[in-house]
Symmetry: C2
Subunit: 201 residues, 2 copies
Amino acid sequence: MNLLTPRQQEILDYIRDFQDRYGYPPSRREVAGHFGIYPGSVQDHLKALIRKGHLKREPNRSRGLSLNPAPAPLRIVPRYGAVAAGRPRLVPEEAEDRVTLPADWARGEEVFLLRVQGESMAPTILSGDQVIVRRQEQVPEGAVGVFRVDNEVTLKRLYKEADNILLKGDNPVFTPLVIERQDHAGLGIIGQVIGIYRPVI
Amino acid sequence: MNLLTPRQQEILDYIRDFQDRYGYPPSRREVAGHFGIYPGSVQDHLKALIRKGHLKREPNRSRGLSLNPAPAPLRIVPRYGAVAAGRPRLVPEEAEDRVTLPADWARGEEVFLLRVQGESMAPTILSGDQVIVRRQEQVPEGAVGVFRVDNEVTLKRLYKEADNILLKGDNPVFTPLVIERQDHAGLGIIGQVIGIYRPVI
DNA sequence: TTAAATACCATACATTTGTATGGTTGTCAA
DNA sequence: TTGACAACCATACAAATGTATGGTATTTAA
């Protein structure tokens, strides 16, 4: 990983920015156009950047450039806004946006992000946090899950007690929700919390 | 956002996978090759996918495809392994890898991820967490920062007390570190913690 | 039953793109 | 002072790529 000249650094930065903005790398001519130079000159710079280990390239492939070291595998997941009340659908069409996460933060078939509102899971999960949720139809006892109760989405810990299901927040201020046997059908298990993101300050 | 036929879904999925794997979208012929069909047929499918709102395209631009809706802006940041002892450099060349984060999780000039080892900041930050750090030379009083003390990197909360600087973990088991005036030069302020990721279970 | 959409084939062509060549000028360390 | 590197010009060409055309066959909704 050799040192770069100022010009080479400029060009590498441009390729990075282009990649982030468009989702694919620039062609030689696009780089040339941006710097007001010729494609052959860009080719010279690319050669240097490849030799110094900052870029990789697939020969004869259009836009076949990739940064080195390559970013770790990523995962694009939908992010949903805080769903306190209303019609909590949690279907991809109604996502707030889609964000990229490191793949190791989002393992599983179907994963999504959920903005948290409310303190019922404090201090484990706070209002303003974003939880990473793996969609699944069962949640192990004691784990934090996302549930649909009375057409509302809530974050709770699941426990079983005789024939009843208990949904308990970690915050002792909130009283646990008891769902009796005959009402189990009304309980919707959406998924399990597999990670927490908390912004600080 | 219309419904897709099974074939169209297959092709959209392939484009997604290709994009994640290579960092750029496939050409018509690459899609055609994968499905054993002709480029013209792929063009037909792309037309349908664009009409139904799942893809965008730049005319006459090679690999000018992008997913719709586009993922939120992202940021590629280096991730460093747990630095309990040893030679804690925290320079990009020694990063464990680079990961993509949502841009709104990584605001600031220079941001990086750090794996946490040790319980001195419990229960705020636990061993196994990954903290998002903004590199800066000052840390506001009471904020969590990353510091270099005696050639070791630690996570602590910073306080001032007369002429001394106090580095305090949230975990009361650990005794605060007092750095006296004459030793201030030995204290390295690396950055401020701006976010926490915690894997669950 | 008629039009629209789906899902292909086979061929063709213009544009974009990667790449090579040979040249000039300047810097900088051996 | 000689050779390696940097940074560019100007031109050229083959390969990759996007795109269009006119087909065929089947399914689907009006």
